[in-house]
Symmetry: C2
Subunit: 230 residues, 2 copies
């Protein structure tokens, strides 16, 4: 890290993708500022893992923002009255938007990241969205990110004063296997990442939800087992 | 209100503009769902007034979302280490962005409104932004709102499935005096609206901040005094 390095805000969930995204941001020469969200989700394990990952990779600061998506309902990940779907990959069964979609989630998360970037004087935001394994979420597509970036440049002082804010999505066109391969080359410790939508009471991944299945397939394609299950 | 009336989400701060915006939404035949935010601001009086106004106008539901812009700092409205500027109107002294600008505030607020609209099946969001008295806030301009609308239609199920989400800004080109005149014709009780950035400990408006001065001028131009000061 040199004194010329620029700050960047990185969305960090504690999952495999965002951990890789953080490592890429750091490897690109930015000083990472990691932001995580506590949003009425059923489990908080991923936030604990986010803190561990932030520390392992090395960030200037890690903040956890409390937000209340539960108050507006509508997703199996925040609404305890809806069951998390099991034993099927949404990406394998068509383009239908899955029950685990959280309304406007990435828009809310990116908005906070934008506010923090403005305060820090940062013009770069990293988010680990993925369109290939995207499982039907509208807010993981390149055209959505491009529209958010356009809006962000009109929303902020930096944009008004001639700066150019950029939303980086280094994983957007990669397969899960490719993401893992790149992350391993950058030293990401995947045993500390957590992606399960529906862990048991001990915090063990279920191994059967959409997110667990995608992850296992990615490690299998790299001829290894998921280190978080060891 | 008929059974054919459609739901709309309305951002309601408890101030003069948003109260007028809510009355316009209702008068246009929508069933209003009001959303307010507790965002680490110094005073909570406006939230009490928002509840009173929601009840007076009549809404299907009023929710208050807790958010923490204070954690990312950067504005005299959320950061207690910065003083609120007095005795000057930012719009009178040039185009500089004032200290009372809250980073990404409207983007964060509209993102929550978008999430709630999606859950409600609403395609309409009302926000009382104003470009004329806009005091230098980048996120109160028409081009910003248009960009948010474009992004919102790519972010959501409704957009993906062919719906068209609209951000309504009925006040955007009106003077404060015109807003007040329209609101009075719709029965808005301005004695219950609260706009001051820096009230005293009893909750009385200071009468000297940017927001108080704009408001007083608007009532003067309607040949009346501000009823919230009576």
């Amino acid at each position: 890290m040199t004194s010329h390095a620029k700050p960047a805000v990185v969305l960090l969930s504690g999952g495999l993708d965002s951990a890789t995204c953080l490592a890429i941001c750091k490897d690109s020469g930015f000083i990472p500022y990691a932001i995580s969200f506590r949003y009425g989700q059923r489990h908080a394990i991923e936030l604990k893992q986010a803190a561990i990952i932030a520390n392992q990779v090395g960030v200037a600061k890690h903040v956890v923002i409390n937000i209340d998506l539960g108050a507006i309902g509508g997703s199996a990940l925040t609404d305890t009255n809806l069951a998390v779907p099991k034993h099927e990959l949404a990406s394998d069964i068509g383009t239908e938007i899955p029950l685990t979609y959280v309304p406007a989630r990435n828009t809310v998360f990116l908005s906070y990241a934008l506010g923090w970037a403005e305060v820090l004087g940062a013009l770069d935001i990293y988010i680990g969205v993925n369109a290939l394994d995207y499982s039907g979420y509208p807010d993981c597509r390149a055209e959505y990110i491009a529209a958010f970036e356009l809006m962000a440049n009109l929303a902020t002082k930096a944009g008004v004063e001639g700066g150019k804010l950029k939303i980086h999505t280094p994983l957007i066109d990669m397969t899960k296997a490719e993401i893992i391969r790149l992350g391993l080359s950058l030293g990401v410790d995947y045993s500390q990442t957590f992606s399960c939508y529906d862990p048991n009471e001990m915090g063990t991944p279920c191994g059967h939800c959409d997110s667990c299945l995608l992850r296992q397939r990615g490690f299998e394609q790299n001829a290894m087992s998921d280190p978080s299950l060891d």
